[in-house]
């Protein structure tokens, strides 16, 4: 049976943070969501210390084999999450990983202590694609910042700490090594690629925020390469993601060094993509996947 940092899982496919609202899905599809839950573990949307309403629309834009988003991390804040969402997420039939983000080490510490103290929570994912208000630097873009953050957080919980790596750096492996030195238990990658599009009808940026993150099959080869580099440099287990839409895709990420894979954008197209990818992965052997890819080149 697959496992991640001591968390036993029924299969190797989980969700990417921010791409599945299990509470909303249950409202729409009923208890079938619990009976046929698509993922082997559930990763929450990112929680911040205070509530956030998210960015002004327009928030999404379709692109070739993918999409841009600038959602802006809408969430109820730590207190709202613990009170309203956590009890409902605890009803899911799989381990729960809570994603957290803050703009300073003390705020991060507050989140990790509060979330880590809850029995319902199996692990914590650190979203480090945010600026540190003290240094002005994006934590996840700096190996030293990432290491220092983990050194602050590591003593606060015995639960697995997973660092979500940003792909928007020249050397993601160096950041992964920083996370490992600071005491992280695992890394997950890739987050979305910073990207823009202009609306041809208006000649202005397609997203209200001006730019957003690119996801979907368009980013898959970038993710596979970053995964190879990260797993070669750091000794941590890695959750690989970035455009996975099938078992063949998932097998590619496992071949590149991932311990688990995550499905994100594909769930928008297929609400049960997680289960489908897991079932296809059982049948998809890496050798076949390689042969298929090679034969398909024209």
């Amino acid at each position: 049976m697959p496992e991640l940092c001591g968390i036993s899982l029924a299969h190797r496919v989980i969700n990417a943070s921010g791409t599945y609202d299990a509470i909303a899905a249950r409202q729409v599809f009923g208890d079938a969501v619990l009976e046929e839950f698509p993922f082997a573990a559930f990763v929450s949307k990112t929680i911040t210390p205070e509530p956030r309403v998210g960015n002004a629309p327009r928030r999404i834009w379709e692109t070739p084999a993918g999409m841009l988003n600038s959602i802006g991390l809408p969430n109820k804040g730590l207190a709202g999450f613990l009170e309203q969402d956590l009890p409902r997420l605890a009803e899911l039939p799989v381990p729960l990983i809570v994603s957290v983000m803050a703009t300073s080490r003390p705020e991060f510490a507050k989140l990790v202590e509060a979330v880590g103290a809850r029995d319902e929570v199996a692990g914590i994912e650190l979203n480090v694609s945010c600026p540190n208000v003290h240094s002005g630097l994006i934590v996840g873009e700096q190996p030293a910042e990432t290491e220092a953050l983990l050194e602050t957080l590591r003593p606060l919980t015995a639960k697995p700490l997973i660092v979500k790596l940003t792909p928007n750096v020249a050397d993601p492996a160096a950041v992964a090594v920083g996370a490992e030195r600071g005491g992280a238990d695992a890394v997950s990658l890739i987050n979305t690629l910073k990207a823009s599009a202009f609306d041809p009808a208006t000649g202005t940026p397609a997203l209200a925020a001006g730019h957003g993150g690119l996801s979907g099959p368009a980013v898959r080869p970038v993710a596979v390469q970053q995964l190879r580099a990260v797993t070669a440099a750091a000794g941590l287990p890695a959750i690989g993601m970035g455009g996975i839409a099938s078992g063949v895709d998932a097998a590619e990420f496992l071949a590149a060094g991932a311990t688990l894979v995550a499905v994100g954008t594909e769930s928008f197209r297929d609400p049960k993509a997680g289960s489908r990818v897991a079932a296809e992965l059982d049948l998809a052997r890496p050798k076949e996947a390689t042969a298929h890819s090679a034969l398909d080149l024209e």
């Binding site: 609202d21 729409v28 998210g54 928030r59 959602i71 809408p74 297929d270 609400p271 049960k272």
Partner: protein, 287 residues
Amino acid sequence: MDPAPLPRSEAAGPAPFGRRPCEVSENRASGGYRVFSLLDREGPEPAPGQFYMLATERHWSERGERPFLPRAISVAETGPAAAGVRLDFLVEGVGPGTDRLCELATGDRVWVTGPLGNAFSEPRQVRPGAAGAILVGGGIGVAPLALLRRRFGERNVPVRVLLGFRDQTHSGGLDDLFGCCEVRLASEDGHAGHRGYVTDLLAAMLAGDDAGSAVVYSCGPPAMLEAVRSLCAGREVACQLALESPMACGFGACFGCAVPKPDGGYMRLCIDGPVVRGDQVAEVPHA
């Protein structure tokens, strides 16, 4: 008492979990639009205002490029079929996704998720004492009003229908979806009915005798919906609007379809809509 239309989750149980392939039983021209029918062997019958996420089984992202995401399309009509439920959709080719849907051939299969979202309510549920309904549709937005008109007819709710189109090319659905009832038309080019906007017809109607006792139901382009919302607000007439917003998933996962609320913050149109009361939005967002 008449059974009232309710949000689908209360009316017919939740949508089946996941997407399912449904076969195309027909695809025909309807004015400048197309009407295609799917045979849904699993889903419950949808309520007026609900929508489905649709993507063709073939030639939808499989060669890269676009379309990639499924498209949110309101159901225009429904009825029992030999082995399930017939779903009719009115579409206009305005981009890679709707162009592909327009090309569907009988026997093709479409990935379907739904029915999704809430539904229109009866007049007296929107405003106690309101007896009648005024349906105001524009362009491709006439679609959900067809099913709504039929449901109201079955429940003896008095209905008046006002439909507007830009020009002959950008019009359709009349004979197919509104063939059996009286419709007052407006067209910007004057090819049918009043030359001008459908909201001109609404303004005249609301200025008339008993319009204050009716509820307005509307779907159409954002500028038209905003004119309807503002007309109704100015005359204290209750209204329900079926809105549109860019949507990747349709079930609350992507947070893309945010619509500003008057008191700050955003609703997710897929699960909090697509039907909203006029006073639930500060103004109709430009999709």
